[in-house]
Every structure is written in structure tokens, then in C-alpha cells.
Amino acid sequence: MNSILEVRGVSKRFGGLLAVSDVSFNLGEGEILGLIGPNGAGKTTLFNVVNGVYKADQGSVLFAGKDITGSSPDEVVHLGLARTHQIVKPLNDLTLLDNVTVGACFGREYLGLKAAQAVALEVLQQVGLADRAHMLARSLTIAGKKRLEVARALAAKPKLLLLDEVLAGLNPTEIAQMIDLVRKIRDSGVSVFMIEHLMQAIMSLSDRIVVLNLGRKLAEGRPDEVVHNADVVEAYLGFPDIVDRLTRTD
């Protein structure tokens, strides 16, 4: 499988805190790669390094074979790498349509205003917000704002989509809808790299999972491999043999 994203030995330091330390992994084309880890493990920092919000102190990031280490976020989007934010950042006083139009205007295809609006309407349809296209973004609920984040990123027509906790704060129905949406996105040919705390969801969605703890890569592999990895279980729960203890039937 061809890699769309290669992260090689990336480190990021904030003063005395080593937020991400020597992390390497590949993401294959058409793959859904999950990124999990306890709070403060460095997941969002890693995202920020990948899409250029932060510059890596060490290591390099390759996207579609091109070195994007040190590129700014707006350059990275033009290449086809879009993302959502964990803490949603709606453009509050613009309509949903305008929000998504911005994504299409300045995305990979760098569309003109008219063409971008057409794409925006399509994408709003796809995420189920089309009926609210002319409402202001501030009027949305949190679930709506998460969808809007995804819609804006999708409008950029990315090859790779970074999703930062799009399920957090949603109710079970909304979660089911969002999971469905992520699957459809992947089926349309977009690779997905997603941070998620909701284990059930990430286990069922991901083809492979990378686990971070204290900035280091703890494990990598298929979901079923990762959950049984002793280091991972210890990082999350403290008992290396917790799975055995809980599943023992004697």
C-alpha cells in the first residue's frame, strides 16, 4: 500500500515539556488510522505538527511524497490535507454556507466563489446540514458545529482528513450518524487520520491504531492487537493484566 502520510522521528517541545517525542508511523492511502492515548499524551500536538500549526523541532513529515515539514497550515490545505478542531472554531457571524464556502475557496482546488458555493451546498447535503445552510454558524448546537467542522474540511476536497475528536460531546444517535459519515468519507477515497477517546467507535472504525503516551509512541497495530497490548492497557488502566482479570471466567 502507498503511504499518503509519513511521519518520521517527529519531536515537539514546549519549554521543558516534551509534548511529542520521536514519533514515526505511516498512513496508507484509503486507510483509517486511529490515534488514541490518555489525556495529555500529545495527540492534538501531533496533529498540529502534521498540518503545520506547529513546526516540528526534529523529524520530518511527508505528505503524498512531498516534504511538508515547516509548511504553514494554509499551504498544507492546498496540497490536500485538511483538518477539524477538537474545540470547534465556527466562523460565528457567517452562514453555514459561507463557512463551508471558505473551505472550498481556499482548499485543494482553490475554487472561485461561485464554484465554491456549489461545492459547499453539496457538502452540506452530505453531512446533513443543507436545510440550515442560510443560518448563522453561532446558532448551531455542538453536534451541528462538529458537522460543520467536518463539512468545511471536506469542502477543501482533501486527500487526507485529520479528525480531532469529532465524536466528543455527541449523543448516541449523533455518534452513530457521525461514524456513518466517516465511513462514507473513506469510501469516497479520502484517507482519514482520527483522534478519538470513544473506544468502541475508534475500534470499529480504524484499520489500524497508533497509541501515544507521554509523547511517545507506545504501540501500533490492528485494533484487536492494540487492546491486548500490555503497555497500552497499563497506560490506560494501570494493571497490565486487566483484560485477563476482567475476562477470566473461572
Binding site: D74, V77, H78, V102
Partner: protein
């Protein structure tokens, strides 16, 4: 296309009114009133590109007007160049300066940017006050025959008036065009959330520098025309800090981010100010009233007159932009 927008034609009607009203009956005092209103609209409209569209408060916007006045006056009189050419060159020169200033100070955000704009104003004023070719703190005066190329003083005043009205119309058309463009969409995104805009692909650094430079052009042209018409310029009237602040009041009053808001706010405020200044009891009082007005608008009608109108008649949004 901008020609299809109803508001484009409304702008032309407004400009036609400005031209026709004083012409009928050769009313010079009405012309002098309207010229102040036009200058207010030009300043507020272009300031709107920064504050209303991009979300960056510029306290030193008047620096473009004053610097344009100096360069224009210098070219038109000392060098003896054509007035329109001098004014356009003044606009261009000031825009280039603004682009350079912008690239430096637009790395700052929020209150820090606002403070830096005051610094730019002070620095330019200090420079001009010590610049020999421009007469240092005494400024420059036109001799009466400087108006000869335009056919004498009387004609020259009318010609500069029409030119200033043209700049006013262009300011509003520019605002309208930017509002309905991809560039404008990028600016709005920066205004709402600059970090989000960058992640969505907007090159905020370049966009901000461009709009800062664009917002300098027409005020500088207007400054060149206005000071040519007045026949004199000195640092204290060219870089009048009060006028810079009043531009912000105009914008808040009319409704920031709205083309008509800037025009309406400019008109209302200028009318109010000339009433207060000429009224014998209140003349020293006009800034107190301006301050009170600003407070009331910010507290009770944050969208200004246009925001209030849009709430009342939501459909107005499509016609009056």
C-alpha cells in the same frame, strides 16, 4: 457581476445626488457641506475594510489621508504635475508604504495591533514635521495661481469637488466588490477566527497586508484632492488624531461590515458634528457627545443603524449591502 447587484446602482444614485444638489442653483455652501460628508464617507468606508471586514481596529487610519495630502500637494504644486495624476500617484505611494508597514505590524493581533497603528501615525507625523521639502511644522501653502491650470480658483474648486465625489463612489463600489468576492470571503474568515481561517487555507499574512494597503489608497487620493482644494497643509491638520477616532465612531454608528453602514454613519456623524460645532452653546462639547453616542451604540445597538434595520427588515440585507 457587480453590475447585477442592486446596491451598485444605489451607490450611483447617491453619487448623482451629491453632484446634482449643489450644481442646481450654484450653491457653494451646500457644496462645502457635502464635501465634508463625502470625506467622512471615504474615510469610514475604507476603515470599514479593516475593522468591519477583517476585524483589525486601525486607530491611525488618518495617516493615509494626511500623507496622501502631502504627496499630492507636493507633486501638484512644487512639481507642477496634473492634479489627477498627482492624486493617483499619492494614492499609489501611500499604498506601497502601507503594504510595508502592514507586513511589519500585522503580525500583531487585537489590542497590540491597534496600539501599533497609533505608533505608525505618530511616527509619520513626527517625520513630516521635520521634513524640510514639505515645510516642516509650518507645512505648505498654495499660491492663488496654483489653480490656473484648472482654469482659475472657482473652477478648480468645483473640479476637485467632483473628483472627491468620484472617490467617494469608488470607495463604496470597492467595498461592495470586495464584499462579494473570494478575497472578501477570506477577510471575513480572518475576522471571525484567524486561526481557523489559516487552517482552512487562507493566507492571512498576505490577505491582511493587502487589505491594509488597499484601505490606504482612496483615502490618500482624497487627501491629495482635499488639501489641494483647501490650498494649504500642515502636520496638525493632515494627521488629525481626532478625525481618526471619529472614523471609528462613524463606523460603529452606521454599522461595521456593511457598505451602507459606513456611508450612513459618515453622513450622520458629519452632520451632527457640523451642527454641534456651529452651535454657539455646544461647540466645545461635540467630542463629549460623540463619546456618549459611541457608548450608547456599543451598549444598545452593536450593529449600528444598519444592524438595527436588518433586524427590523431582514430582507433589506439583500438590497442594501
Amino acid at each position: 457581476m457587480i453590475l447585477r447587484r442592486p446596491f451598485f446602482w444605489i451607490i450611483l444614485v447617491i453619487a448623482a445626488f451629491f453632484i446634482y444638489a449643489p450644481l442646481r442653483g450654484n450653491d457653494v455652501s451646500l457644496r462645502e457641506d457635502l464635501i465634508l460628508v463625502a470625506i467622512a464617507i471615504i474615510l469610514a468606508s475604507n476603515l470599514n475594510l479593516m475593522i468591519g471586514y477583517t476585524g483589525y481596529v486601525n486607530f491611525g487610519h488618518i495617516v493615509f489621508y494626511g500623507l496622501g495630502g502631502y504627496i499630492g500637494l507636493y507633486l501638484a504644486t512644487v512639481r507642477g504635475w496634473n492634479l489627477v495624476l498627482s492624486a493617483l500617484l499619492a494614492g499609489l505611494a501611500v499604498s506601497v508604504c502601507a503594504l510595508l508597514f502592514g507586513l511589519a505590524i500585522l503580525r500583531l493581533r487585537g489590542a497590540y495591533f491597534a496600539l501599533a497603528t497609533i505608533g505608525v501615525l505618530q511616527a509619520v507625523q513626527a517625520f513630516v514635521s521635520n521634513f524640510d521639502p514639505w515645510g516642516r511644522s509650518t507645512g505648505m501653502y498654495l499660491s492663488f495661481d496654483a489653480y490656473q491650470p484648472l482654469g482659475g480658483a472657482m473652477r478648480a474648486l468645483w473640479i476637485t469637488y467632483y473628483l472627491i465625489i468620484a472617490v467617494m463612489a469608488l470607495s463604496m463600489i470597492l467595498s461592495l466588490a470586495i464584499k462579494n468576492s473570494k478575497f472578501g470571503m477570506g477577510l471575513f474568515a480572518i475576522r471571525e477566527d484567524e486561526d481557523a481561517a489559516v487552517v482552512l487555507g487562507v493566507n492571512a499574512t498576505v490577505y491582511k497586508a493587502i487589505i491594509y494597503s488597499v484601505s490606504a489608497f482612496l483615502p490618500a487620493v482624497a487627501g491629495a484632492l482635499m488639501f489641494y482644494k483647501n490650498g494649504m497643509i500642515d502636520p496638525s491638520i493632515a494627521f488629525e488624531y481626532m478625525l481618526s477616532l471619529e472614523g471609528i465612531v462613524m463606523l460603529m454608528l452606521g454599522g461595521q461590515g456593511v457598505v451602507m453602514g459606513a456611508a450612513l454613519g459618515g453622513t450622520l456623524y458629519e452632520k451632527l458634528r457640523s451642527y454641534l460645532l456651529t452651535s454657539p452653546k455646544l461647540s466645545d462639547f461635540h467630542l463629549v457627545i460623540a463619546g456618549g453616542l459611541l457608548l450608547l451604540v456599543v451598549l444598545f445597538a452593536p450593529g449600528g443603524v444598519m444592524g438595527w434595520l436588518y433586524r427590523l427588515v431582514p430582507r433589506a440585507r439583500r438590497v442594501i449591502e
